[in-house]
């Protein structure tokens, strides 16, 4: 992947009166990257996307695209195109006319324009639908037309505002794969706004997790999932067991803690780690705790009692009470060894990789 900077967001704030929709955001997006802005509604992700598109103006701070400062440059002069959440397909135009809408201003000539429209429609698997009316399309087709209409402009950056949220689950998963494939084929920088953590994890090169107008963490999907910087990020990206601990020793790189249930653990020190006093929080994902079926005792394991069991087809969720821990551990286990048949009250041993226990800020 080339390392050229495509978008530079520099200390950008967007305020409405006393309310900061976006609060001093700084962010760099590289050329050809699939970047996601992930967060709950009202976290400022759409505001940021709209400011990149030029549909909203920052209250302070600056945005540059491909080295060009965007201050005062209106949406129609920016090298970005957007797929709107509502798709915003022009209902009075046919599919082909929708896709050609932006090309008309470029005055390419009828032949070249037609060729690019056909190419764009082929790219989104809608070849031959040029003359279909915009109102006769299904939700998935509208989404593809919106995509073709933006891609046909060959933007430097494609902006996607919750593009899959209106589709049903199966179509959404199919489109996730297709979008990712498309992005790799065209090599354009994609910025995706989503509140769906699985969507972000599945599609992105990097993710910025946002809460209340602030960026909490920017990292690869794996890093975000495995090493969330704080409890909020950890919680937003799926289940997490929080483990209370006492700090025994700390330095710049690592901390050593005495935990409830898991004994003494040495772990990497997270960047924003600022413990109040000696107490700290560690986290371990439910699927990183594995039921041990053999009799051999391993070094890294905890023993507990099954108090709840929930069957989900390919997996089972267990709630396991551990002596010395305030809260029971939540465990996700595959069903191939019979986790779905574990009786309530059974005593089991849970093995874990000590690297899966990560420290995080509150």
């Amino acid at each position: 992947m080339p390392e050229r900077t495509m978008i530079q967001i520099d200390d950008v704030t967007k305020s409405y009166g006393d309310f900061h929709a976006l609060d001093h955001a700084t962010l760099t997006i590289k050329e050809g990257e699939f970047f996601s802005l992930l967060g709950p509604s009202g976290c400022g992700k759409t505001t940021l996307l709209r400011m990149i598109a030029g549909l909203d103006q920052p209250t302070s701070g600056s945005i540059s695209i491909d080295g060009q400062p965007m201050d005062g440059i209106p949406a129609n002069a920016r090298p970005t195109n957007m797929v709107f959440q509502s798709y915003a397909i022009f209902p009075h135009l046919k599919v082909g006319e929708n896709v050609a809408y932006g090309l008309k201003r470029l005055k390419l000539g009828a032949v070249e324009e037609k060729r690019r429209v056909t190419e764009a429609l082929e790219m989104v698997s809608l070849a031959g639908l040029d003359n279909r009316g915009a109102t006769e399309l299904s939700g998935g087709q509208r989404q593809r037309v919106a995509l073709a209409r933006a891609l046909v402009m060959r933007p430097k950056v494609l902006l996607l505002d919750e593009p899959l949220s209106a589709l049903d689950k199966k179509l959404r998963e199919q489109m996730q794969v297709e979008l990712r494939r498309l992005q790799q084929a065209v090599g354009i920088t994609f910025i995706l706004v989503t509140h769906d953590q699985y969507e972000a994890l599945a599609m992105s090169d990097r993710i910025a997790v946002m809460f209340g107008g602030r960026i909490a963490q920017i990292a690869s999907p794996k890093e975000i999932y495995q090493r969330p910087v704080n409890r909020q990020v950890a919680d937003f990206l799926g289940g997490m067991n929080f483990v209370k601990a006492e700090i025994v020793e700390e330095n710049g790189q690592s901390i050593t803690v005495d935990t409830q249930g898991f004994g003494r653990v040495k772990t990497e020190r997270p960047p924003a780690f600022a413990p109040a006093g000696r107490s700290a929080t560690l986290g371990i994902r439910p699927e990183r705790l594995r039921v041990r079926w053999d009799d051999a005792t391993a070094k890294h394991e905890v023993k507990g009692t099954v108090i709840e069991r929930h069957y989900f087809g390919e997996i089972t969720h267990l709630l396991v009470e551990i002596p010395g821990m305030e809260k029971p551990l939540s465990v996700t286990e595959t069903n191939d060894f019979g986790a779905d048949d574990l009786p309530l009250g059974a005593t089991i041993r849970l093995g874990y990789d000590p690297d899966a226990l990560v420290a995080m800020a509150e």
Binding site: A53, G54, L55, P74, A75, N76, A77, T80, N81, M82, F84, Q85, S86, Y87, A88, I89, F90, P91, H92, Y101, G102, R105, L106, T135, G139, R142, R149, A150, M153, A166
Partner: protein
């Protein structure tokens, strides 16, 4: 089913039919007597004729009145629609202080006694030094057309997805270009509907035209003048029939256009749900 309910179920359709008959029977007499051979509007009809219609284009005073009505109707329709577009866009697109009060005040002429408004306008226009002419009639008609124009246009603008205009800008189009290529085509049916409704109201209005017209006579005022002469009654009936048909055609077309506009904007608005 209980007895009162059964009675109600049987009688409601009959009542509804009677009501419609009461509404439209007098109006239906107009075209019937307009083709009657004798000049007195009485049954039985003495024979069928189109001579009253044939006489209409041969009456210079009537042609003048028709021409005046056309000028006033077109001017009032255009003015009311332009004002209506601005108001409807403001009401549907922006939130501002006093918006509800403003909505109410714009619609108020619908329920104000027209004769009071006409007299007030007469006083204001005269004290402003304007002489009564087709211009003053037009001003009066704009006043009574605007509420209709606004309600038609609001139903066109409502549900107009704002992101359509944003998408246009995002695809490189200028503000003026967006208005021409997106907003205007989307709004065309509603605008045509507003023009037709306003024109019809202006064409049918008597009170404003009577008070504010001075020596310039529009069709309804002409009709009123003719009623003094019993012999002219059949011509008036013929003219009335033509006006009636014209109004109904215009309003039907207007309603079709309004529905088309509403359907068009709803297909995009509905997607969000």
């Amino acid at each position: 089913m209980s007895l009162p309910r059964r009675l109600l179920a049987n009688w409601l359709p009959a009542y509804a039919a009677l009501f419609v008959l009461f509404l439209y029977l007098p109006v239906m007499l107009l075209p019937i007597f307009s083709v009657n051979l004798s000049a007195t509007p009485k049954f039985p009809l003495t024979g069928l004729t189109l001579k009253w219609y044939e006489g209409l284009p041969k009456t210079p005073a009537l042609l003048d009145a028709a021409w005046n009505s056309l000028i006033v109707g077109v001017s009032a329709a255009v003015l009311a629609t332009v004002l209506g577009i601005c108001a409807a866009r403001a009401v549907t697109r922006y939130r501002f202080r006093g918006q509800r009060a403003m909505n109410g005040l714009i619609m108020a002429p619908l329920v104000m006694p027209e004769i009071i408004v006409a007299v007030s306008l007469l006083i204001v226009l005269l004290s402003a030094g304007l002489s009564l002419s087709l211009l003053t009639v037009t001003l009066g008609h704009v006043l009574i057309c605007v509420p209709y124009s606004i309600s038609v246009l609001i139903s066109g603008f409502e549900g107009f997805d704002r992101s359509l205009e944003e998408a246009s800008a995002d695809l490189g189009e200028t503000t003026a270009g967006t208005f021409r290529r997106v907003t205007l085509p989307m709004m065309t049916p509603a605008i045509i509907s507003s023009l037709l409704v306003s024109f019809t109201i202006s064409l049918d209005d008597f009170i404003m035209a009577f008070f504010l017209g001075g020596n310039d006579v529009t069709l309804p005022v002409y009709v009123w003048g003719q009623l003094r002469f019993a012999a002219k009654l059949p011509s008036v009936l013929a003219l009335g029939t033509l006006l009636l048909v014209a109004s109904m055609v215009l309003l039907t077309v207007a309603e079709i256009m309004r529905r088309r506009a509403a359907a068009r904007t709803q297909t995009t608005g509905g997607l969000l749900a």
